[in-house]
Every structure is written in structure tokens, then in C-alpha cells.
Symmetry: D2
Subunit: 361 residues, 4 copies
């Protein structure tokens, strides 16, 4: 009931970090569409661990197995189920954690929710590994959005205190988004990127972790897309993006900066350009009243530092009721942000395609 | 389909700024509950316009009329419908706006969505007036939450560049929240409050508007409350809070600041205090993995400056396809933030009570 | 959460038989549509009590008041709320019933559900009076279906043991449906109708009540309309039709008769007629695999006899735990079937228009 | 969006008759429950083909593989996914059917819905094989209902014109339901059962098929269970039961017979028995106003004859626009009713457990 998303297209995630498999069922796809497996595999590769020293050494091929939903390679009107077998699991790393919750993780809260029945191995259903099926679904939605001339892409906006150049909210072009998708480390300013990578490695060397911000842009949304009040673009995108572990904030357009601004500055004046209504500025991030203005939709998601760090930490032993100390073993990312980029794109793609399917026009 | 919220309790809003009435239907309430009308009227009064020079001079009594759902003054298992008649409407103020969208408002996007059939008067269904029934529902949910020993309250965290003292995320007490609710201008630091009020009046004198931030705190959430992935506390609260007009960002705990932090700092260490698991710090704002940790839940919502300002602005005439200029008439708030405080509380109360109703334990 | 219907168009009913008002909120209507108030009032009149000796003498003008959702008389993209004030209530008739449930009614079950907080007056939220807003919504959906060349109509198929001629499932024409709508007593065979009316009056004279069957037909459904498994036409229509009080069974096409048939008889052979695929027979009632076949959709709903009868009945006193006897006062229909005809049409129209809105083609 | 069921527990079915696998995701299960695999396998065996001359010779082991949702053998709060690999598929049987729809099947309607992209092999997603995951979910829900002292069971009420003895709607006991579950051919009257079996075999010998009725009973529902108007027991059970292929009608209690009855007969008089409110008769099938009365819930579902028969049938060739004739190959049941018994139980169990989870008391 909570691992599903969508009102017009339903995305049902399932699986735990160390269960037999994890996956997704997608119900409500249009018929006759051939999934672009190259795109899906490429997005999954961008998300996959084991790619470099920047990420967890856990190696999972992340090859989806499609169990249903296709006939002769095309969607046939039936729900599409794709699964990922879990292979490189080392559940023994988690034996010590059964009753000692890792700070910053969902261990304690999941324990309390389930009366101790939660799957502690690898974080169970709360693991970032659940973003593999999310990315599968998102890549497919991105393909379907592109058929409607809607394109999206994201970059690492910051790592700790280090910032990339922001998207130009008015003039950003599709080719910039495309370039980011093939980058090893998706930033607009390569120099900033090098510094960020060094910063991550230095943090990892200290057995610590670091957070960061992903900035996402969507081009081509038809003006008026979205629904009033509770199904506006902001509501739906945030409801999806907070489904990615470690997200602690989201903002649209100038976001929190608008709180410091004035109406005379923040209002984006309309004008006609080549017969199209556009705005001269885009402080509102392409959204007015929850609906698309036709200008680039821009949002940022803040990721907290990976809770798993190699340093000893204070915790409690739920079986004894005593304070204790633990040191997290297992294999983890010193910074989730680089791998989170396709996850943010995926969450946005799912939310937006769902809104497109419900669009009455 | 979009003006409703809730999976276990359904909140259906309806109405336009200048329609015959606006209101809310609440389906799924427990039976035998006597709505605390004093609380409801008090919350509505905190939200109502016309209270001071800080807000719109539009005067609406905002007295709800309950059409259904009660028997002998108590909920009877049937949907509760409450309506607010619109009285002090001056629709003629909007005649000039039919084809000239106000910058920063939903006029243009709603026009595009509906093919020009949108109700332009007072912003129609996109009007902040829709927060009256939202607050009605939220006040009722807050009452029901209190029966579960869950309390919430909010303050003005900032107006433009001026900041109030933040909530102490570890030690905040219920009485602080209660005090805020009876304040004329809800801040923790009265000196900051005076400066904020002056700042709003100065901005209004310049025919401009200003934004700000509302910070909300919830005490008493049972550890583990919330659902995995897409129905976490962050997902659900943000989905509700973005239903309030002018919200452009939301963050939980340290929010965007966590992106600059490290795991060794941001992880909140667990310890036992009087037999209860608590955390020494609360950077995660009472939420781990989307579930309540038992520590105070803290979040902030950023409000953009009121789009309606008295200064002339550039826009377009959709009927002629020409650029033009408009000056917004009508009666508006130079800053929506003071009136937004109960709205944020209401949105949070609705999201949280809905999660409580779905809680299986 | 249970008085609402629809996945793409949401119909939220509210109200009790003797509450201030009852009504409906319709969220998700297309914009720019002018509700055909003549049709709505005509459908409401067909449903209204007080029309003749065949129905309850309670007189309610049943004039809907539209509170929201329109701008300049057309739908504006905001939820439409229509209410009906309750006027001719005689709540004192129900005082004696607070703890003595009427057999056949929801009194006992609602009491158990709500811990005795249910609104006993007139059956509260379980009253057939809730079909007034249902018919409002259904008449509007029927209008929207007609814009898609889909037409529906129903007749009294039987009253007690007396039967009307059935619809010809292959050759039925729209004009037959139209004729039924303007009939005082909608039957295909006027002679059967006269007998039915006499039968109802005789039953009423005995202070008893009688049941019957309504048969409904829908023409013009596009082949393939409907969704697999749980959102087939049968699922959705039955989910709506059982929302009408007193319905105890529903069947599609030959329905229960198909259980006695063989495949060689029951299979409807396809053939081309004027370039269109049709079937020679229509035992399946225009539905195959839950999807429309393009042939007339035919279904029947069985209504039990009105539980309210003037004869003394055995019951219990829930306040004393003793057996007792009651005689139902109040004003009731000796047979709900004639008034149920527009209700069945309305329920079907809502279910079908909802499916049309979700249709991807 | 249509292959899922449930408001509090979500059952998402996926798969096609000849896809790699089919299965179910169950989201919202309580934590810490150990699925009774013996029960699940027993129910699946009752549904499985290949058991006797009465059913399709297609042999599928129907062994579910649980991919997720368990930790140490118990539910862990994450969605449970179970799949069934398709093994004994003979897709070549369906090559000839790509453009020639089988009468009585969903071939034509699915073709029209999907623009010809539907999976024709074995009926694709419309295949009765989808009842395997439905039965998996239903058996699990039946286990969870039993923990609440709710028991259900069904029998073959009729095959063609041959009838079994009906359930005694007042005095039926749990052991009768249990006995039916271990019967080879679940009837109350063994003599009737023998005749039915012979009738099926005779029909099969004529290359024809036959329909029948399944009658289901539920004991132990708490009085008041269910929700008003659109989520009554009848609405929800029928919405689930029509998810089983070939169902064309459903009725509760005396169902269509109530249409011939009078209120003085059909009203079930209340009385106290051993301190419990009961009714002397049970014409309403344990349901009043959509809510459980505490008496046995009784309903019947009518199944049409299997559309697949060995006789030549008239159809059309959608690729040429010409009339044609086809003879269905493949392996099919001459009567689906015996295998449908656990499917009806499963659908009812899912609908009822979902209502139990949403019950507020």
C-alpha cells in the first residue's frame, strides 16, 4: 500500500536488499510500446554500485528479468513485471545488527513498526537497492515522456560544501541534459566535478560520508499539466522523490530562496516570444499553482550523508535495553549522490508520466 | 481527483474563491467523536483575513456550516460536510484579468489546463481561500491526534531575511507549541516578531510583498509510524503541504543543511533515557527511513512572496496575443506567512492522522 | 472512504436522510461543459418520492443547489458540489427506533459498526435518499456519455412475480431507451405495467412491500472499453450498483441462466455486418473478458422488498437486551423499483463514464 | 491499475498464460505472520489443472516461488511477491488465433483495446491461469481471517441443470465448510456430485462445455463489518469475484429470489439467542445495508460455460475483414466450476480481509 506510486500508472516496488529478488510491477502502460532496453540498462548502470572507488564495492549485475507484460517484445496491456535477482549478498555482515540499530538508518524505526519482524539484512525493504526497480520504471517512463517531447535530466548540484554551476532556468537546452546522462560524473562544470570527487575520496578515507544536492530539469511539459491542490507538480514530484532513501528536502524553482525574495522580483513576467507565452525569469521553476508554465521545470533534492560510516557510533541494544557502541561493517557508498542522479530522474519521470496519463486534454 | 487527500481518511476540498460556497467532505472519521468547535473556530480565525493591517482587508466570517456527518453533535460514521459561504466577493475586480494572467499566479496555467474555462475570479479553485476548509479538516484531525497524545504546532521561522529562533529539535516541549497557538503573531522570539511585522508593513507600503518560512513541530508520534518508500512521513507531509498555495520548498530535520554535513555529524546516536530510546541530536527531524523515530518531527515549508502586488507588471493578453501591462487590483496580503501557520499545521495534521488510521499496530 | 466512487472521476456522496443537507462532490469533470440542468431535474423527478400512490408520501422538492465547480455556467476544472436541503423531515418518527432495529434495514448493523453513534433518523447515511445526489451525478455522466455517443436506459423488468418483456439484446434501439425515460412507469409492455402497478397497490394495501428487477441497457460502448481482471465492466458496474440500497443481485447478459447453458449455445458467434464486427446472439450481454464487445450491454439488478412495512415485526431492544416487537412508522415506498430505475441508470453511467475517462485510446 | 485489488491490502496480479511467469505482489500484510504454505499449496492444488478428466490436461506444478516479503519465514512489513513459472506452454496452438477471435473469449475485445498488441497466447492476461496467484493471495488472506475467527468455504451449487443441496443459511457450521475443502468434488450431496461429474464428462464427450454456480459461505464476520454505500460487503465481494474469468452474475442471500418476495417474508426478524442478536431467517444472506449482520454471509456466483469448445464456430478474420470458421485447439476444461471453487473462496477472502484491515473498531 505504500510501496506503490501512481494514480494512472501504478508502480509497485517489492523486494529487500537480501531477499531472493526485488522488482517492480508496472500496471497501466500503453499497449504496443517496445521498451528501450538500451536506455533501461544504461540508466541502471548509472545507478549500479561497484562502478568506481566512489561507490559501494558490492557488485550486482542489475540485469532485469522481465517476467510479464510483453508480447513479441511490446507492451500488451498486461502489467509488466521486472525482477532483479540478488546475488552478491553477504547477510552475515548484518547478524550483529539484529538488535543494535545503526544510527541514521531505518533499523530502529522499522523494528518498532514491525515488532522486530523487519528484515535487517542490508536494510531490508528500506535499502537503497530498491532504487534499481525504481530506475527501471523511471527509464521506461522517460522513454514514454520523450514520445511526448518531454525530456529530463539531472546533475550533481553539490557535494558537501562544493557546488556545481546551476542550470540556467530560462535557457537550458535539451543537449545539456543529454550530455549529463553520458558523463561519468554528471556535473555542468568539470572542474567542480574533479574537486567533488576528491572530496568524496578524502571523506571515505576518513571512514566518513558526505551529502549533497541533485538538481533536475524537465523540458517540454505542456503548459497546464498538473492538477489543483493535492496533485500539483510539486506535490506529486515530492511524493515520488522522497521515496528515494536519504532525501531530506526538496525545492522547486528558487525554492527556499523565494522566502527571502519579494513579489516584484519573484514574479516571472509573461511575454510572447515567437507566438509562445514565456516568462523572462523563472524563479517559480516552471510551476504556477502546481501546473506547468511551459518554462523549464527545475527542482533540487537534498541528500543526507550516507548513514553507514566506518567509524564507531553510539547506539542501543534493543534486546538488552543497554547503551552500546557499534561499527558498521558491510559495503557502502561514502556518498550516495552520484548514484542518486538517475534515481531522481526516475522518480520525476514516474510522477510526470503519471500526470500525463491523467491529463484530460 | 486532485482536490482530495488521504488513503484512510479522505479529505475532499471543493469551491472557488467566488463560488456560492466552498467546503470540505471528510470521509472515514471514527464514529462517536464530538468535534471541538472552539478549536476549529480558533484555527479558522488564525487563518482568516481581515484581522489586521498585515493581511487582506477582505472580510469573511469563515463560519463553517456543517451539513452532514453528525448525529446529536457527534460523528455518526457518515461523511462530514462543512461549507463556507462566500460573502464579501468583489468579482468585478477580476473582469480585467480574464485574458491577462497575473504573474506568479495560476491564471495562465489554469487557462491552459481548462481551455480558458477556469474561474478567474479571485483565483478560482487555486485561491488561498481553499485553505479555510483545509484548516477546518486539519483542526479536526489535530483534535483526533491529541486523543493519541500527538501534538503539533508551528511558528513563523522567517519573513524575508528576518529569522525567528528555531525550535530546539531535541528539547522542545508541548507548552511551547500551545503558546504559539494563542499568539497574535506566532514566533518564539518576540523581538524578532516585531521586526518581522515592521518589515511586512514596510513592504506593503512599497506595494510589494515578501515570503517567509513556517517551521512546524510534531510531538508524540509513536516510533515506527509511517510506511516504507512512497508513504513515508516526508512523502505524505510534503504531498499535503504543497497543497497550500505559494509553498515552493519543504525540508525535514536539518533538510538542505544535511547536504553539507557528514555522516559522523548527521547521524543521530541512539541512547536509552528513562527506558526510552532517544537520540542525542535530531538532525533527521524525527524521521528515519520515512518512519517516526519518536523524537520531535520538525519540518519547514518555504512560502514565496504573494504574487499579487500593487506595482505594475508585464504580462500578456491571451485574447490578442500581445504583450501588455497590468496592475493587480483586489485585496491581498503583503505576506501570506502569518496566516499560513495554521494551514501548515492543518496539512501536517491531516497527513499524520491519515497515517495513524492506517497504522496496523 | 466508502461513500466515494471512481478512479478517474470521483463521486463523493455525503448526507443523511435527516441531516441539514445531502449532496455530492464530483471531482475530475472535464472543463467547459455546461451541465444539462433539464436532464438532471428530469432524472431527479423520476427518482423523487411523492409522485404517486406508488411511492412514499414524503415530499422533497429535490432541487439541487450547485455550490461550486461552475464558472459562467460551465465546468471550470474545480470539483462540482451540489446539495439538497432536507426539508420534509419528521425525525420524531424515529425516536422509538433508536435501540430497536428495523428488520431488513441497516439499523442494527450500523449500530454495531458505530458503537451506537449512527444516525437512526430515516436510516441516516444508509437511506435511499442518498440516491438523490447519486442520480444528480449519474445524469451528468449520462450527458457526458452521450457526447461520446453512448446511451443508456432501463426499465422495470419485474415486480414480484410479474414480468415485463425483456430487452432484445441484439436489436434494441436507442429510441426504445429514450421512450422509457419519459414514461410514467417505465416498461416495454404497457399491459404488464398496469398489472405491476395494481400489484404494488394491492401489496401496499396489505401493509406489505414487494421487490423487483430493473434491467438496464447501454448502447454505443466502444469495443474494448473496460480494464482487465478487477476493473472489467462487470466489476465496476456491480461495485456502483450495489451502492443503491436494497440491491441483492446483479447479472450480465444471460447471467445466472448461463450457468445452465452450454458453450455451443452461449458463445456468441462473430460476423461482419456493414464492416463492423458484431455477434449473432448476445448471451454475454455485450461483455467479453470484462471488456465491451460493441454489442448492447445488458444487465439486471434485483431489488429486495422495501424493508419498511406497516405490519408488526419481531425485533430486539438493544438497550435492554430483550426481544420485542415493533411497527415501523414513517413514510415509505411499498416498492422501490419504479424509483430505482433512474438510480440504476445513474450508477451505470457513473461507472461507465469513469472507465471512459481512464481509457487510454 | 486494474489488475490490483484492495484499499488496505493491495493485491497486484501480473502475468499472462504463456509469459515467463505470472504472480502477485501483496502489499500491506501485517508483520510477523508465517504464511501457512500447506494451506496455500492445498488451495493451489484444488485450483490446478491436470487433476482429472474433468479439467484441462495442461500440467503446471503451480509451485509458488516467494521472491520477497519474508524474513526468517515471516512477513517483514515489505510487499510479498510470489511467482509461478509457466512451463507447459504450447504457444503454437494459438498461432492461428492471432486474428481470428474465439467466440466467448476476450480475444476480440482485448484486440480492440490494445490495437492488436494483446498477448493472444492462452488468452494472455485474461487467462483463467491468473487465478493461480489470486488463489495464493486468497489462501493467505483466509489464514489471516481465521486468526480473527472468520471462516469461509464454497461448494458447487449447480452444474448445468443439476443442483446440489444449498447451504442452510441459518445453521451452517464451520465443519461443513472444512469438509468441503478436502473433498475431491466439493458438494454437500454426494449423489448430486456424481451426477454432475457424469454430466461434465458427457458434455466433454460432445466437445461442448457447461456452466454452473458456486455458492460460498462466510462464518464469523463481526456484526457491522463493511462500509456504507460503495464499500459494502456486496460491492467489494462482487468487485473481487468478477475478477474471476467467466463469472456473469452474483447474488447475496436469496438474491434474485428476493425480487419475487415480500417484505413480510424477506425481512429477517431479530431475536436474542444466548445473549447474541441473531435473525430467525437469513434471506438477506448475512448482510444489511452492506454491513455484516453476524449471520452467515451467503453468496452465489454464476459461471458461464467455458468458451473453448472443440466444435467448429463462426468467427471473423480481423486481418482480412472476412467471416470465417475456427475450431479451438489447445487444452481446456469442459467445465471451470470445480476448479473455480477455491477461486471464489479466494476472491471473497481478499475482499473480506481488506475490509477487516480497514475496520476502525
Amino acid at each position: 500500500m505504500s510501496s506503490d506510486f501512481g494514480k494512472h500508472l501504478r508502480i509497485q516496488l517489492f523486494g529487500q536488499s537480501h531477499s531472493e529478488a526485488l522488482g517492480v510491477v508496472i500496471d497501466g502502460l500503453p499497449s504496443g510500446v517496445e521498451p528501450d532496453m538500451d536506455r533501461i540498462l544504461h540508466w541502471l548502470k548509472r545507478r549500479a554500485p561497484g562502478g568506481s572507488a566512489l561507490s559501494s564495492p558490492r557488485k550486482e549485475p542489475d540485469l532485469p528479468e522481465i517476467l510479464s507484460g510483453l508480447a513479441e517484445g511490446k507492451t500488451c496491456g498486461a502489467p509488466l513485471c521486472a525482477i532483479f535477482r540478488n546475488k552478491d549478498t553477504r547477510s552475515e555482515d548484518y547478524d550483529a545488527l539484529k538488535h543494535i540499530p545503526r544510527p541514521g538508518h531505518a533499523d530502529y524505526t522499522a523494528y518498532m513498526k514491525t515488532g522486530g519482524a523487519n528484515d535487517i539484512r542490508g536494510g531490508g525493504h528500506f535499502s537503497a537497492r530498491l532504487t534499481a526497480p525504481l530506475v527501471f520504471a523511471g527509464a521506461l517512463c522517460a522513454q514514454l515522456l520523450e514520445e511526448k517531447d518531454i525530456f529530463l535530466g539531472a546533475h550533481i548540484r553539490s557535494i558537501g560544501p562544493l557546488e556545481d554551476r546551476p542550470f540556467d532556468p530560462v535557457h537550458i537546452m535539451r543537449k545539456e541534459l543529454d550530455t549529463l546522462k553520458i558523463a561519468d560524473f554528471p556535473v555542468l562544470d568539470p572542474t567542480a566535478g574533479h574537486k567533488m570527487k576528491d572530496y568524496i575520496l578524502e571523506t571515505a578515507a576518513r571512514k566518513d560520508s558526505v551529502g549533497g544536492i541533485v538538481e533536475c530539469c524537465v523540458l517540454g511539459l505542456p503548459p497546464g499539466l498538473g492538477e489543483p491542490i493535492f496533485d500539483g507538480l510539486e506535490n506529486r514530484i515530492s511524493a515520488a522523490v522522497f521515496g528515494i532513501p536519504a532525501v531530506k528536502g526538496i525545492e522547486f524553482g528558487d525554492g527556499f530562496e523565494t522566502a527571502r525574495s519579494t513579489g516584484s522580483v519573484n514574479n516571472d513576467a509573461f511575454f510572447y516570444e515567437a507566438g509562445q507565452v514565456r516568462t523572462k525569469t523563472n524563479h517559480n521553476g516552471g510551476i504556477l499553482g502546481g501546473l506547468a508554465s511551459g518554462m523549464p521545470l527545475i527542482f533540487r533534492a537534498a541528500f543526507k550523508p550516507t548513514p553507514s560510516i566506518g567509524l564507531p557510533q553510539d547506539s542501543v541494544d534493543l534486546s538488552t535495553g543497554q547503551n552500546t557502541t557499534l561499527t558498521v561493517k558491510g559495503r557502502h557508498d561514502p556518498c550516495v549522490v552520484p548514484r542518486a542522479v538517475p534515481c531522481v530522474e526516475a522518480a520525476a519521470a514516474i510522477a510526470l508520466y503519471d500526470l500525463c496519463l491523467g491529463d484530460r486534454r
